[in-house]
Symmetry: C2
Subunit: 281 residues, 2 copies
């Protein structure tokens, strides 16, 4: 079985992003990502630091903004700021708030992690829009592995607004036959074990095992579930699946680094678009 | 096999809609639907007349507007008109135009046929929005037949922005396990013949037959394909499927009348919302 090396895929993306960011900087523009951090969540803090580290490598500036109260207004303000090219909001949000509701305050032109429902709607009808970077990473990893998507049976396990649904839409746009499973699915193993490609994005540690895979399946594991000893495991039991699957993305080192690289690619694309439109004015 | 009687389902919906429309009229509001007609297409003219006929039955006013050039501006104008509660645009559009692009000019509060990508995005993340009436009709007919949707395997054949994708999203919201098939699907019969429910919305005459169905399947036929003798047939070969399926919607008399009834229900809901918000001011 092949482990699909997310770190290598991410490194290739970052090289391209760095070249574009340098070109933009030479025209006086500084591609900049604003990250709104709404809580003291530790995993959030860790992820924000990893974005900052990667951003530095590709010459993208990051501005971290702490705001726990008026998150919608803050996202709107950052969207209105011409020095910001991308705006994202970390989750979890404070109790009672939802990014599905607050995402609309992010200008779609700067919605580099596809949090505004308008971006998802545009994606659904095939209009240009940023998809959530995690959903994009699913496609990018399958492409990097050389998986043909047209006509392929893909089963997506999970239906969140940030991964499952946008990944399903992107896979459909690639002409895959797409099934979305979730907690109400009658017999998950029956569904997944007929798939050429399984995308696991449930957020439950190692719930997919040998019985869920057919020989030769390609498995993209989006899950990042913390373990008792401070590590991370995916939604797939990799050891159990190893003798059966053709390829799988490891956790960590699979979807995660590619997601961050694509987020930065989106920031640079947004900065390029802003620069092109200001040149026209 | 049961024929699911769309006309009866539509009649029940119309009764409820008529009662709500009367209540609104008693407060001085007249629920009104604006229909933009962009071409001389005969099928369009036929459909518009049938909406007018049904609207009259439920006390909803219809205003038909002919506009072939500046369709976006016209949709925006109708949306801004406080006497219009719902705005729809008929297809086909003139060559080179697409409702996926022009739909954004319809205010989401009046987007009673879910043509604005924003409506689709809100639907995808579970926020209140109008779905395309045809997609809603799929759910309504399954409910009327008594089909349990949670955990049910549904295969949607077709992935358009007006039927396939929104129907898939609505079915997911009902906790069905949803597969979307299309022209690139490798073996359509393998996919559909494992489904509890098949939703056919390809727009190709009778392409689904006996080999595509499993015994006891419930079939919703969204297709309306004109025949040489001036009749209509669906995407399903009803005679072939009859000995196998448990139930099917006929064409005509299935999805069509329910779609029109739901469109009018959406207009009355939009008028109620407008009336409630003006009362608050």
């Amino acid at each position: 079985m092949t482990l699909i090396d997310g770190r290598a895929v991410a490194a290739t993306i970052r090289e391209q992003v760095a070249a574009k960011a340098r070109a933009l900087r030479s025209t006086g523009a500084t591609p900049t990502l604003a990250i709104l951090v709404p809580t003291d969540d530790e995993a959030t803090a860790w992820y924000v630091r990893s974005i900052e580290r990667m951003a530095e490598k590709v010459d993208v500036r990051v501005r971290v903004v702490r705001e726990t109260n008026d998150i919608g207004a803050c996202l709107a303000e950052l969207s209105a700021d011409p020095t910001m090219h991308g705006v994202i909001c970390q989750t979890p949000l404070p109790a009672g708030m939802s990014l599905d509701v607050l995402g609309r305050h992010i200008d779609t032109a700067k919605d580099v992690d596809g949090a505004n429902p308008v971006s998802l709607g545009r994606l659904a009808v095939g209009l240009p829009a940023f998809a959530p970077a995690t959903a994009q990473a699913v496609i990018e990893l399958l492409r990097a592995h050389g998986t043909t998507l047209a006509g392929t049976d893909v089963v997506v396990v999970g239906r969140s607004s940030v991964v499952g649904k946008p990944a399903a839409l992107l896979l459909l746009a690639e002409n895959a036959t797409v099934t979305v499973c979730h907690s109400h699915t009658k017999d998950l193993a029956v569904q997944t074990s007929r798939a050429d490609v399984v995308v696991a994005c449930v957020g439950r540690a190692q719930i997919l095992g040998a019985a869920h895979m057919r020989p030769g399946a390609v498995v993209i594991d989006v899950g990042t579930n913390p373990t008792a000893d401070g590590g991370l495991v995916g939604d797939v039991d990799t050891a159990a699946v190893e003798p059966i699957a053709e390829a799988i993305t490891p956790v960590p080192g699979g979807v995660g680094p590619v997601t961050t690289a694509l987020l930065l690619r989106n920031v640079v694309s947004a900065a390029q678009a802003a620069s092109a439109s200001s040149a026209q004015e």
